[in-house]
């Protein structure tokens, strides 16, 4: 299991400090220390079927505070990559849909383009009018641009995306 994940697990003695400090644990089906426990026991599919790694905000509080230097956030990431590749959403479909929408806009424009991101995100997650009410206020404050910005090295960005996509099984974008 450690080999499969690329990160050591055995030093974890289940103190639960990661879960105590995790700001997203409240909405996880199983908190971080339990995910580590599943993996210690070889229950990989059980870990992958939880929503925990999708609602992990990658804030690194767990890794920072772990007294045994378990790379909890990195392990969550390995699960996320695998789930994304295999289309496993564990009840959190809008989260991977957002990542997909975000990266599509970056691939197209080289940089983030918020109106495009919101539209694509709503389309992919099936929530068509989400966050529309915030747009006019932001626009008048000069916080939203109608058109994507220029200046990014688009050819370089597209090349990176193409290469990264072909490098399966790391993930698909």
């Amino acid at each position: 299991m450690e080999k499969q994940l690329g990160h050591p697990l055995s030093q974890c003695y289940q103190c639960g400090k990661c879960s105590a400090g995790c700001p997203a644990a409240y909405t996880m089906a199983e908190p971080p220390n339990r995910i580590i426990r599943f993996l210690q026991l070889g229950l990989y599919d059980r870990a992958l079927s939880q929503n925990s790694y999708w609602v992990c905000s990658s804030c690194e509080m767990c890794t920072a505070r772990c007294p045994r230097n378990v790379e909890i956030k990195e392990i969550m990431e390995v699960l996320r990559h695998d789930a994304f590749r295999r289309g496993i959403t564990s009840g959190e479909a809008p989260v991977p849909a957002f990542h997909k929408a975000f990266l599509k806009t970056v691939e197209w424009f080289g940089r983030l383009y918020e109106p495009g991101l919101v539209l694509l995100n709503n389309l992919l997650s099936g929530r068509f009018f989400k966050d529309f009410t915030a747009a006019p206020g932001m626009f008048f404050k000069g916080k939203l641009k109608l058109f994507p910005g220029r200046g990014a090295d688009n050819a370089a960005v597209r090349r990176i995306f193409k290469y990264s996509r072909e490098e399966a099984p790391r993930g698909e974008v």
Binding site: S57, C59, R80, F98, M138, K143, G151, Y163, S164
Partner: protein, 297 residues
């Protein structure tokens, strides 16, 4: 002092006021910023969530495109991704090889990746900052919010303590703010869930807003556009959920520093903040006017 400047996507849109105020403060402090030519998005949370190679190749493109020997990022998320990339590519030759194949050119190792807060607080001597201050913040009460990516993990983001950072507190004190203690300085705001699990942002950022108000803050000072956006843009929905009437402006540390360097609130983009900042600006000006009188009395 000359740095390559990597504004990152948000400073050209939702965090335009951070860009305005960062450039203004750097100009006054004699920090020359040269934009990285052809810079691209760092990939943010989405890239490292789904594709490891992409998460390193996108920041590597920007680092390699930098024309100076150090690149400064005002966004904590960009900073973290660029630092991560540099650390990993220097220790893992195989990964570096893959990233170079993805980019189609060699990675430029040896470019120092710095956060703007680190540069302003640690490269400019305190005495020199003092000589540039024309006014103070008039004892306005603030809490400094560092969030997650500015200080973690410790071997990547290494300029301050990851549990009890003080860099921003020190700068704000120098500018004459009354910096309050509060327990949420390094707790995550929910960042990338703003569009996918907005309820998670309401929950996490709600805790921050409630905590800052409990501490008695007039404003929360930030150094990250993600934090600012969640604290500011999502605040109306959050205070409604919390059932509170108060509002808490979330301002960039560069905006408050700029206020003390003779820039107007318009020049520093205060009007671009969604939550009304007029009471805060008034408080700073009143406090400033009263301070000499108080000293005499």
């Amino acid at each position: 002092m000359k740095f390559s400047y990597y504004p990152g996507c948000t400073l050209h849109s939702t965090a335009a006021e951070y860009d305005l105020s960062a450039r203004a403060v750097c100009k006054t402090l004699g920090i020359e910023l040269v934009d990285v030519p052809g810079w691209a998005c760092c990939g943010a949370t989405s890239a490292h969530s789904v594709n490891e190679l992409l998460a390193y190749a996108l920041p590597a493109h920007t680092i390699t495109s930098a024309t100076e020997n150090a690149v400064v990022a005002p966004c904590a998320a960009c900073y973290n991704r660029l630092r991560y990339t540099d650390v990993r590519l220097r220790e893992d030759a195989h990964l570096r090889g893959e990233v170079e194949s993805a980019m189609g050119r060699p990675y430029r190792a040896g470019v120092a990746v710095r956060h703007l807060l680190d540069v302003i607080a640690n490269d400019v001597p305190e005495e020199e900052v003092k000589t540039k201050l024309q006014g103070t913040l008039g004892g306005v009460k603030v809490v400094c919010y560092y969030g997650c990516l500015l200080t973690r993990p410790k071997d990547v983001a290494a300029f301050d303590d990851m549990e009890e950072p003080r860099t921003m507190d020190r700068l704000m004190e120098l500018c004459g703010a009354d910096v309050l203690d509060w327990p949420h300085r390094v707790v995550c705001c929910g960042a990338a869930f703003s569009l996918s699990r907005t309820d998670v942002v309401y929950h996490m950022t709600g805790k921050l807003i409630a905590s800052a108000l409990r501490a008695g803050a007039d404003a929360v000072v930030v150094a990250c556009p993600m934090c600012q956006s969640n604290l500011d843009l999502r605040q109306p929905a959050i205070v409604k959920r919390l059932g509170i009437k108060e509002r808490l402006p979330a301002v960039y540390f560069t905006q408050l520093m700029g206020m003390c360097m003779g820039y107007s609130s318009e020049e520093l983009g205060f009007k671009k903040i969604m939550v009304d900042t007029s009471a805060l600006i008034k408080k700073i000006k009143t406090g400033r006017a009263e301070a000499p009188a108080a000293a005499e009395g």
